[in-house]
Structure formats: C-alpha cells, structure tokens
C-alpha cells in the first residue's frame, strides 16, 4: 500500500541495553544501589517480552533485541517514518518509589541525549513513575517542555487507575505542557492482572492487557470526570488493542444512564468522552479472522478517527492491522497511517 505522506509510527521501542548508560544521569547514590543490589535490566522485561515470542523471524532462543541507537533503529525499521519512541525500561517491579522515579529520570535524559537530540524525525515519551504522583509532576516540569517529548508514558499494570484523584495533578501538568497521556501495555507485573489473582500462562497474561486492564483505565478516566476537569487532556492507549472498544462502550453508556447520579460530573455519555479524547495504537490489532466479520468493524467504531498506526518494533503481534487498512479508502488509510497521530502529537 502507498501513502502520500510519511507514516507516523506511534509505538517504537528503544532501550539502553543495560542499566549502565543510565547511571551517568542518576545521583551517585543510585550507582551504589544498583551495584550492591546487583540490579540489571531484564532483557525480557521480567517476562513481558519472552525469547522468540515477538522477534521477527521468531527463532527459538532469540532474545528480543531493542534498538539502542538511532542507527540500529533505522537499520531495523527503515528510514522513512516519523517514530514516537517508547522506552519501557522503567516499568519497574520494585516497590521502591524513589528508585522508580530515579530510573524514569535516567531513562528520559538518556532518551533525550541519545535519540531526540540526534534525529529530528524522532519523538519521545517521557517516562513517569507510578508510585509517586508528585515525582511524576516534577519530571513533567523538568523535561516536559523539551520539543522532542510529545507524551508522558505510564504502564497500565499499576496500583491505582489513572482516573483516580491522586493522578489529577499529573493530568493537569501533562495538559499544560501539551503532552498526551500515553498508557502502554504491561507494567507492574508483580501485581496480579486479574481480580482472581495471577495467570498461569503467558497467553492469559498477554490478553489481560487488552481484555481487562486497559479497559479499566478507560472507565476510570471517564467516571472520575477527568475530561470535565482537564478538557485538553488526550489519552493514547498503546499496545492495548482496540477491537474491544465498541462492546465496552455499549455497556458503559447503558450503565451511565442507569447510575448517572453516582457520577454527576460525567455530563455526557461516556462514549462521547472516549471518542473525543482517546486514540489507540494498531498493534496488536486482534481482529476477527473471518473477512465478513472484519468488514463490519468500521461500522461499529470510527476506526479512521481513533486508530494510529504502530509497528511496535521490534516486537511482533499476530496478523496485524493490514486487513483492516485494506477496507478503508485512501483518506481513511492516511488518517490511520499518519494524520491521526500527527494531529494528536502536534507533528
């Protein structure tokens, strides 16, 4: 397929390879902490990206290799796109809020120096800590005005949903700096994904991102009136799927009609806030295999307004979004491949 404009790829993973390059940006205490606790960055992100599962080619035993430099990135991904970089290394599992905040700052400085200031086609996400909203606000104030950062990055597996009151100051700071609230799959995997505890298979753990955890943040952000408080806040759900959205909104709109008096600050139908304020990356697409069923998806949700193309490089998910793109007209494809992201991130 050809597009007139340059593709914007909203979920491209980069990382420092090891923790060592981050230490120069962190207080000396943390070098000592890391050395003596024998901390390292797990190449599989503590099991989120296991060997072989997501690597193009999928050879058994291959460790997922995340680009560590712009050159490696261009070599693997090509040279033709604008990319929004997500470094999810600080999706920490420790319960030390100070370490989590320091790791985020280290990653953000590293990303700025090694990518954003070396290639103008690259944009970055500002990683924020999940355990200390004050530290998250400080990080936005420290680096949020840098032109390379276009969104803040938080994991969906967390301790408190992102509509909760303790996050309101983070919403405000992000909106004031023109930053999108980017919520990415995975996160605190030491917390069980389901209300019935941990899963026993990777498939369940993986599916929980789209089928349960991301959806809880959608209902939380709307139910707590976040978009009435902070109307300019925009949310990108990254690597969380999207085909579940119409079914969630059918339930959400109906329930709101029934129990609206519990949440009087929700003044419009929940779907109105979601369609206006949320955008979704296209990987994983998790679409129906039956072409007749697939063909109806654009009737159920405005895909040409909501979706933003993502490769999730260097990971790979299933059959991808191409079959859905093939159903769209030229304008619709361009919106998904570049226009929606350009508009959301002000590119």
């Amino acid at each position: 397929m050809t597009v007139a404009t340059r593709v914007v790829d909203v979920d491209v993973h980069v990382g420092p390879g090891s923790i060592q390059p981050l230490l120069e940006y962190m207080e000396p205490y943390w070098a000592d902490y890391v050395a003596n606790a024998e901390l390292f960055l797990s190449p599989t992100m503590n099991g989120l990206y296991p060997p072989a599962a997501f690597v193009p080619g999928g050879e058994e035993g291959t460790i997922t290799s995340v680009p560590t430099t712009p050159e490696e990135l261009r070599e693997g991904l090509g040279d033709d796109r604008v990319a929004v970089l997500n470094c999810i290394v600080p999706f920490d599992t420790s319960h030390n809020p100070y370490y989590e905040a320091a790791l985020c700052s280290g990653v953000n400085d590293w990303l700025r120096a090694h990518f954003l200031e070396r290639d103008e086609r690259l944009r970055g996400s500002l990683a924020l800590p999940t355990l200390d909203p004050d530290a998250a606000v400080q990080e936005i104030e420290r680096l949020g005005s840098h032109p390379g950062f276009v969104q803040v990055l938080l994991p969906i597996r967390t301790e408190v949903p992102y509509g909760n009151k303790r996050w309101h100051r983070v919403h405000d700071a992000a909106a004031q700096h023109g930053l999108v609230l980017g919520l990415h799959a995975w996160g605190r995997v030491a917390n069980a994904p389901t209300a019935s505890g941990f899963t026993h298979s990777y498939l369940e753990d993986y599916a929980s991102n789209s089928q349960i955890v991301a959806q809880a943040h959608v209902t939380s952000l709307v139910s707590e009136g976040v978009f009435e408080r902070t109307p300019d806040l925009k949310v990108a759900l990254l690597e969380c799927g999207f085909a579940w959205l119409p079914f969630l909104l059918w339930r959400f709109d109906k329930d709101w009609k029934g129990v609206w008096r519990e949440v009087p600050w929700v003044k419009e139908r929940p779907s109105a806030y979601v369609l206006r304020s949320f955008r979704f990356s296209t990987a994983p697409a998790q679409l129906p295999a039956d072409p007749a069923v697939l063909a109806r998806i654009p009737d159920l949700m405005p895909v040409t307004e909501l979706l933003m193309y993502a490769s999730d490089h260097p990971h790979r998910h299933g059959a991808g979004v191409d079959a859905l793109l093939d159903l769209l007209d030229q304008d619709g494809r361009e919106a998904v491949l570049s226009g929606n992201a350009a508009s959301l991130y002000g590119l």
């Binding site: 072989a52 599962a53 997501f54 969906i156 597996r157 301790e159 408190v160 949903p161 992102y162 509509g163 909760n164 917390n191 069980a192 994904p193 389901t194 209300a195 019935s196 505890g197 941990f198 899963t199 026993h200 298979s201 990777y202 498939l203 599916a207 929980s208 789209s210 089928q211 349960i212 955890v213 959806q215 809880a216 209902t219 939380s220 139910s223 707590e224 579940w244 079914f247 969630l248 059918w250 339930r251 709109d253 109906k254 329930d255 029934g258 129990v259 519990e262 949440v263 994983p284 998790q286 679409l287 129906p288 295999a289 069923v293 109806r296 009737d299 159920l300 998910h317 299933g318 059959a319």
Partner: protein
C-alpha cells in the same frame, strides 16, 4: 376472577411448550434464617467473631435504591426474601415456566474457614430446597458449594445432586484464583459427573486488580464482563475442557457481546505464540468458548444501533447458548418483552427466551 386466571394459566402451561425461562433470580437468605440453620458451634463463632469477608455492597455502594428495584421490598426482610412477592412480581406477572434461583450470600461464604463455609453452604442449599424449590414447581435451584475448599465442595455437590429441580452448581465469577487452576478441577468434575453445568455469577471476593481498585459502582458494573473474560480465558488455557470434556459453564450477569472481541484476541494470540505454550489446547481457544460456555442476557448490551447487537451475537456464533434472565429484584431488572432487540429474528428470540435453557437444564414440559 384471579383464581380462574391462574387456573387457565396452569392448564395452558401444562399443554404448551416452554415459552419463558428466567436464568437469574436472586432469592435472598435473611441472616436470621441462616443463623437458625447453623450448628450451635458455628452460631457461637459468628456471634462472637462475625464473618471475615465484607459484602459487595460494602465495597461498591449502589446509589440507586440500594441496588434494588424500588417496588421489590417486602413488608419484612430484604428484596428477594419473600416467596409470595417473587411469585407475584415475577413468575405470575410474566407467566414464567421456570426461574433459576441464584442466591448471592454464598459468594462471600467462600472466604470463611473451611468447616464454617461448608456449614453455611449446607444451610443455604437446604433453605433453597425447603423454602423455595419444594414450594413452587416453577423454581429451579442452584447448588452453592464452599468453593474455595474443593474437597468439601465435592461433598456438598454430591449431597444435593439428584435433588429434584436443582439444575446447576453456582460459583462467584471472582475466586481466589482463576477457575482453570487445577485445585478447582475436582469441584468442576463433581458437577459434570452429576450432569450439572457450573454457573459463574458476577461478584465474589476480589483481589487487587491489574489496574488497581476503581472508585465507583459504575466502573465495577461496567467491568463485570472483563472479570468474566479472564475466568473464561483461565479455564480455556488451563486445558480443563480436554480433561473434563462434558463440562459446561454458564456466565451470569456479565453481558455477552464482549466475548466476540475476546474470541478474536485469544485466537490471534494463540496463533502468534500460544501453540508453543498452551500445549493442552488441541484447537483455537474460541472453539472451546463456543462448545463449553453459555451466557445469560441481563444486563444486555444496548448499542445505539440495535442491529449491531445482532451482528455481535452472529460474530460470536453462540445464539444457541444465550439464556434470557431478569436479575430480579435488582435495579437493572430486564423485562421479558422489552429486552431483546428487534434486530434478532423471532426464532433466535424464542431460543433465548426458553429453548436454550430448556436444552441446557433438561427441563420437563
């Protein structure tokens, strides 16, 4: 006049095929009635120490008449506790052939000490039989086992199974672990060997969720389907359907349409990497979904375009496995004549209103 009407109804019911079955009616066991049915030892225990588990209403208060239909409060007791009112407002009002009783109190019994949980469930099941099922031939019972203690749960299932008009084993949708966990398999096997489906009703004692706790009942209620999605996935991925091929599972009060996107997501993941890992599965996960699960309707999804719901049902491919339900006496009660969208064919509606339940539960005319 009223007597004549009832007689005519009974006559017509005897001659006609089954036209209306309600898959989710909450009979409510009053605390004093429960207490009176316990051995003295456990009465003393509860008097001195109380229960260990907070109820669902304490975690997510319902800001609409306490969560109940405004007209469903009897003169004495909680909504759902008075057989006469249930008959008048539900069974007679809609001329129902059958209604499946789903008491909710045992959802919280699961977290109690094993022996206490077993006594609480025994008391509940005896109460269901004596005060409901034996009082009205339209009522169908659910066996509530001490579900976190599967060895005791097996005993309770075996004690009640075979009792006339007890048609399923009822568990909460949220347990201490995913229901695919092997420790639950003896309980699932006991139900299946007794010829009974298991039913999972939304609710139960929840662990911390992956996104953390929500603030509102609204969020908790919208999320019913997501909780159930993970239980279905837990069971499918565990391989329990290869182990117990006749196991049938009813999802109660969690919606339906979301299962279509779940089936797409799990098949996509299985094709990508799951075949290596989930070695117990011989086929794509959605095939187990279609062969082993059933869904009750209330609270049915309501898209702006009613036709979209028919599409979702078709995409899911399970209209033979959808069971009508009202959720009496809760605030979001669905009335039989006003729930199923126009977009469903007459044939599909008849299956949902009665035919599917008749088949699943083996109901006599």
């Amino acid at each position: 006049m009223a007597d004549v009407q009832v007689t005519e109804r009974e006559l017509s019911r005897a001659e006609r095929t089954i036209r209306l079955v309600d898959g989710d009616v909450h009979s409510t066991l009053m605390p004093a009635s429960l207490h009176a049915r316990l051995p003295r030892r456990w009465q003393r225990h509860l008097e001195q120490l109380g229960p260990r588990v907070a109820g669902a209403y304490a975690m997510f208060p319902r800001m609409r008449n306490g969560g109940f239909r405004i007209d469903a409060r009897p003169e004495k007791g909680f909504p759902g506790s008075d057989l006469g009112l249930v008959q008048a407002q539900l069974l007679d009002e809609y001329d129902m052939d059958y209604a499946v009783l789903t008491p909710m109190q045992p959802q919280n019994f699961g977290g109690e000490a094993p022996e206490l949980a077993a006594e609480l469930c025994r008391a509940t099941n005896d109460w269901t039989r004596e005060e409901w099922v034996e009082q009205d031939a339209r009522l169908l019972g659910s066996i509530c086992p001490p579900h976190e203690h599967p060895d005791l749960a097996v005993k309770e299932i075996e004690r009640i199974a075979g009792t006339e008009r007890f048609v399923q084993v009822l568990l909460p949708a949220t347990l201490e672990q995913g229901l695919g966990n092997r420790r639950y398999w003896p309980m699932l096997r006991a139900a299946t060997e007794a010829g009974l489906p298991i039913a999972l009703h939304t609710g139960g004692n929840e662990m911390h969720r992956g996104a953390g706790w929500p603030s509102y009942y609204l969020e908790m209620h919208v999320w019913n389907g997501n909780t159930m999605a993970m239980q279905l996935l837990s069971m499918i991925c565990s391989g329990v359907f290869e182990e117990i091929p006749d196991l049938q599972v009813v999802s109660i009060e969690c919606g339906i349409a979301w299962a279509a996107s779940l089936s797409w997501a799990m098949d996509d993941a299985w094709r990508t990497f799951g075949e290596v890992e989930t070695t117990r599965l011989r086929r794509p996960p959605s095939e187990y979904l279609r062969e082993h699960f059933w869904f009750t309707t209330q609270p049915i999804e309501e898209p702006d375009e009613p036709e979209h719901l028919a599409f979702a049902f078709d995409a899911l491919g399970m209209t033979d496995r959808i069971l009508f339900s009202t959720d009496y006496p809760h605030w979001d009660f669905d009335a039989p004549g006003q729930t199923l969208p126009r977009s469903l064919s007459k044939e599909v509606k008849q299956k949902i209103l009665a035919g599917n339940a008749t088949r699943l539960y083996g109901l006599p005319r």
